[in-house]
């Protein structure tokens, strides 16, 4: 499992716009880099990120090799109700990771 850092506020007022920030450990191997033997290292990147909350996907993104190693993403959502924020990263070589964070909305 890749190491992740996630920042979702523990609590928020209904209607507040909250910021969600994520950082995940991944080399994002571009597929353009030759190794010491001069052979191109095959691409190995996270291709897709999805964030769901309160019954729907609220944000998703398609990533390319131009995203830096250890991808950082920050976006916003409106706090609607208490529940779970679910984040999924998917990529080359079967990479798949899901993380959840609770949020309390008052």
């Amino acid at each position: 499992m890749a190491r992740v850092l996630i920042n979702v506020p523990r609590s928020a007022k209904r209607g507040d716009i909250i910021t969600i920030r994520t950082l995940i450990q991944h080399t994002m191997e571009t597929g353009y880099r030759p190794n010491a033997q001069g052979e191109v290292v095959p691409r190995d990147i996270i291709r897709r990120f999805t964030c769901s909350y309160d019954g729907a996907v609220i944000f998703s993104a398609e990533l390319s090799p131009a995203i830096a190693a250890n991808p950082f993403l920050s976006f916003t959502t409106v706090a609607t109700r208490s529940g779970t924020v679910t984040m999924t990263w998917e990529g080359d070589n079967g990479f798949a990771q899901t993380e959840t964070r609770p949020i309390e909305v008052t």
Partner: protein, 240 residues
């Protein structure tokens, strides 16, 4: 060779004489990345180190007991009768106390543990290495720092004392304070130790670097800490 160096360095106003961390020489955006724990990729290694520490080390240590430790390393190691750096100290613990195979230098496991332990001292001042048993290593470090080396025949002094603050091609030459290690270097796209940084400076002047773990690096680190005594620890720093 001195003429070559003069040519290499683009004329910029001489730097301030005050000691300044490499942090000060970075672009505002890179500084912001270091300051923000959610954007500083080094924090991923600290998080891994924390997990490893809680699994492998808390039978004998607590998180609180690690505060301030990094500020006084390298220190004297009774068992070997030699100075030891923080990564070496952690490896020795694994070997002597856990009776397990110590993690290799620059391995993900050792970098993570070292980053976690050093992070406990973030903001604390580096202590001056006053232990008299460290004096010979300190002297050796000072000598290594002043010695010309490599095909370019340059010493650390020529870059980091005589020309600090000037630009060498794209990079500002920092004053070489070891305040942020292990740190996330954008160039490496990963975390690396002070020894990796020093190897980079050695191959930069076309000289053969010492092997990882060599006593020369520990001596250099003791000297760099003496020079940087009182400056705040930044681990995990970010550098270009």
């Amino acid at each position: 060779m001195r003429r070559t160096l003069a040519l290499l360095l683009l004329a910029l106003p001489a730097s301030a004489q005050d000691r300044r961390s490499g942090f000060e020489d970075m672009a505002r955006e890179t500084q912001a990345m270091q300051r923000d724990d959610m954007q500083n990729p080094g924090m991923l290694w600290v998080a891994e180190g924390e997990e490893r520490f809680n699994r492998d080390c808390t039978s004998c240590h607590t998180e609180a007991s690690m505060r301030g430790v990094a500020a006084r390393y390298p220190a004297w190691d009774e068992a070997t009768g030699a100075p030891i750096d923080l990564a070496g100290r952690i490896s020795a613990c694994v070997e002597r106390h856990q009776r397990a195979t110590p993690p290799a230098r620059e391995s993900q496991a050792l970098l993570a543990l070292t980053a976690y332990v050093a992070h406990q001292s973030r903001g604390l001042p580096i202590s001056r290495p006053t232990d008299p048993r460290l004096a010979p290593a300190l002297a050796q470090g000072r000598a290594l720092y002043g010695e010309r080396r490599g095909q370019l025949d340059l010493s650390c002094v020529q870059c980091h004392d005589d020309n600090a603050g000037r630009r060498l091609a794209g990079s500002v030459i920092p004053q070489a304070h070891p305040t942020g290690y292990p740190l996330y270097r954008l160039e490496w796209q990963g975390l690396g130790s002070l020894q990796r940084r020093l190897r980079g400076c050695m191959t930069g002047v076309r000289s053969e670097p010492f092997a990882y773990g060599a006593a020369e690096y520990v001596a250099l680190e003791i000297f760099l800490n003496d020079r940087a005594a009182g400056m705040a620890i930044e681990t995990p720093a970010v550098r270009p």
